[in-house]
Symmetry: D4
Subunit: 153 residues, 8 copies
């Protein structure tokens, strides 16, 4: 990745539908270069251009954050199993009190319980889990500064 | 919001750059309808089309989840102040142990400390905060099922 | 209260609609005595004859248990305010980690958040609160043995 | 379940002994319909008409709330065993810190210890349990609004 | 046990060396009765007449309170093993966060660590333990009211 | 304090009624010396000769351990107020999670609640308190080794 | 700081008394350069050459780690006051459950209590503190790799 | 160890490069005695003369404190394995909530995660671990008073 990648990303972070023509003119490169670079960033799972929905504005969903403590020697397997559950939207390793943070979005509390009971609870290696239901989202932004550390050096 | 909105959203959740022409043909409506509906969804802060970056693939960032306990009578003010901090990427109210979940992304641990000390700590009404540094992200998906509860009824 | 009260209560604990005639014959007393005793037990808030509904079978409600830590010198006022909130179904003082246990039943997560934010959070003297959403009820019985300690002595 | 069921339930929630005649007149249906519907609601474990006693007014009982963490793969068995213990009055699955909330009512602290030691502790799959003794009940009401979500739509 | 036992106990609770003659005169019974009753109370492990020392006034000891979480099915064995450790001065079952409270008194922090490592840690069935070192004792009294519940009835 | 004090204490720790004559013969000193030394140890609040009762064998009491977090600048005042409450049997400062450990013995759960509500809760400076009811005592011994550190040197 | 600084530091991390002559020969620079650089590193509080003692091998000390929660708006003042206490050996800000980690070394538990009560407890802005007494140190090393991130780039 | 050892240590605690000549003159002993004593103190792992670096001034490191709960019967093995990990800088047994305190210093958050995942997590006997990233160090001093307890007696 180089500064050009970062410049392209920055434009897409604020508006995922910025036209490649605008980006190419803005950066003084060809449209083909923009297209190739974006494609490569997406293929390498660095970038994902998506319509992000505020779940609280499209029905009455259950958005739940789980903190998991895991038998550490089984961490890899637990992660693989969690990632495969469709309702699981986010999985990350962390410092602090929990080994993993997991986000689950379902269309109701009943469906949440079904996922907890039939899917998450069946994974061997989860020692304990604590869950927090989100009740309202006040900010959700995606335009964090990329490449800043590199450019400082 | 009606089923047409949900159908449009579903297509953009998987690929934020799906052309309006494709969507219009797919759903048997005019391109203008697609454009108007998308615009309205964005204006009403229901939808946001963005390039989402995996922060761990664009440098060496500090991605931190905070759990905050808040003097409840000052909740509104705390939320307003948090939302205004640029490094704060996510703010949500929740059940469970914490009153608010907050996500902060900075380009280093030093910058994280600066945000904690100069910005978050200065907000009147935060009783205590616990923080967890994310160390790796294994899944980050945005195509949860919208409108499912409505369509069941 | 005497053994007769306890005998009457026992019959109503299992079936709240047992006819006073059945009770009077069963215990060898007049129907009037049964009626008077039941009335007095209800007036003294010892007994309450109610239709108890399993909330998970009549819609998709949010049944939430709160554990509250309270500025102890304001305990009386906090209890008074909590009792006055219609969605608050249960308030009890306890040993252990929390000072008060509170149960709230609302018809959705949104309404739960409204009660937390507009009603509970405004009560002066609540230091912190933790909440757990119930997801399914497996047993709910009301026929505990009354008067057993007395009758042993 | 339909609106008629909800209307009947509402009347019984406040007073479990409301006569079927009063309900039938109030709703403009026959007494037989009321009787049949109530019977069906009871058979389907949606409704239970009981005399609920305030345990603190009928002796000196031990009313204890347990929060249980459970080896998740054994959750079903743990629930089945808990439900079978007579002193266990309430069992529910929950989000938050605990997997299960359990309420136990005994006639003394000694009997509580006997139940904890001989019954609950013997169940395979309980990882840990925390207990809180209730010391006084300030509110206990059962007339939550049923069917409200349906009627809004 | 009867009221006479309680009366004898009350006198010994305040001063363990009250002469049996004084007690007998005070209660209008023979010295032999006092002696027999005390002996029986001691044999039944109801009463223990001891010189209680404030450990902080006789050197520089380590007085430590342990809260233990125990694999509940092994509770009996854990208790038996703990009771057999000489430095363990107190073992009790409890409600709340811990299953057992244990007090250990040693003559130094080093010896405390030796007991924790060689004795307590070796007991099969202890899930986890938390420890608090006492730093100063401000009150230690033993004359709680015995038999009060009986005499009220 | 010297070795003679420690030798006298050791004899009284096991049996608080050991006669001074036995102690004097055992240690080769006069009875007067024993008496004077014991008196001085008691006056200096180093020793207390008492009848210790197992509260679970003399009725059905509530024996409760409190862990208190205290506004640290008010620690002295909190201690003074706690010591003055008759039902408070033990007060100690500690390391670990709590600032103070407190033991309360009452004749019932109701009386416990009265002490919590009317006495402990009124003390200015207590930030929060957690309580554990003891359910059975398995060991309670008082003959810890005094003077051992001195004699090793 | 440059690579030469890092090379000098590495040699002193393993042996703080490595002669400047050895270092100068090893790195092919003059002794004067070594001396100047070391002096500057010390003046800038980057390096400190000290005799580190294992406290458990020079008596019977109390080595205690405190986790502090702080009223965040007073953080600067709390840090300043803690740093000024001679028995406080280490103060650091942190993520996780506590705002500050503090290490205190005293020559006994009594002296520890004196520092907690007279010094730390008097600091305005400390909300709560938890303490852990260290009982034995198994590893204490100081030769972490400096400058590694720079040299990789 | 005697008072002479303590006097030598005290001089090296403040400045690890104090010349042996200065120490010998200061204490009125020969340089050879100083050298021999220091050597013996180092060999017995009582003293270590090192250049201690403030990790936050030599790059952008991850300094992390871990609190570990350990299956107590495997404590010895866990300690041995932890000590062998190069990035582990400190291992100590403790009272309080955790069984072991461990400090890890790595050159980045990524490397921290690698150590947690590949090294610490693989150790059999660690039940759970909580981690806190240090963000800034305000005090780090090494001149605690040695031998003070001995000299008082």
């Amino acid at each position: 990745m180089d500064d050009l990648d970062f410049e392209i990303i920055k434009r897409l972070q604020t508006d995922g539908r910025t036209s490649y023509t605008d980006i190419s003119e803005d950066l003084g490169i060809t449209v083909g270069t923009v297209r190739n670079r974006v494609q490569r960033l997406i293929e390498n799972q660095i970038l994902k251009i998506v319509g992000v929905v505020n779940p609280f504005k499209t029905g009455s969903p259950s958005v739940t954050i789980f903190g998991l403590k895991v038998r550490l020697q089984k961490l890899d397997n637990v992660i693989k199993k969690l990632v495969a559950i469709p309702e699981v939207r986010f999985v990350a390793a962390s410092t602090g009190v929990y080994d993993l943070y997991v986000e689950v979005i379902t269309s109701s509390n009943e469906e949440l319980y079904r996922v907890m009971k039939n899917d998450i609870s069946q994974i061997d290696g989860i020692e304990s889990m604590e869950s927090s239901l989100l009740l309202e989202i006040f900010k959700q932004s995606y335009d964090w500064e990329v490449g800043s550390q590199t450019s400082q050096q």
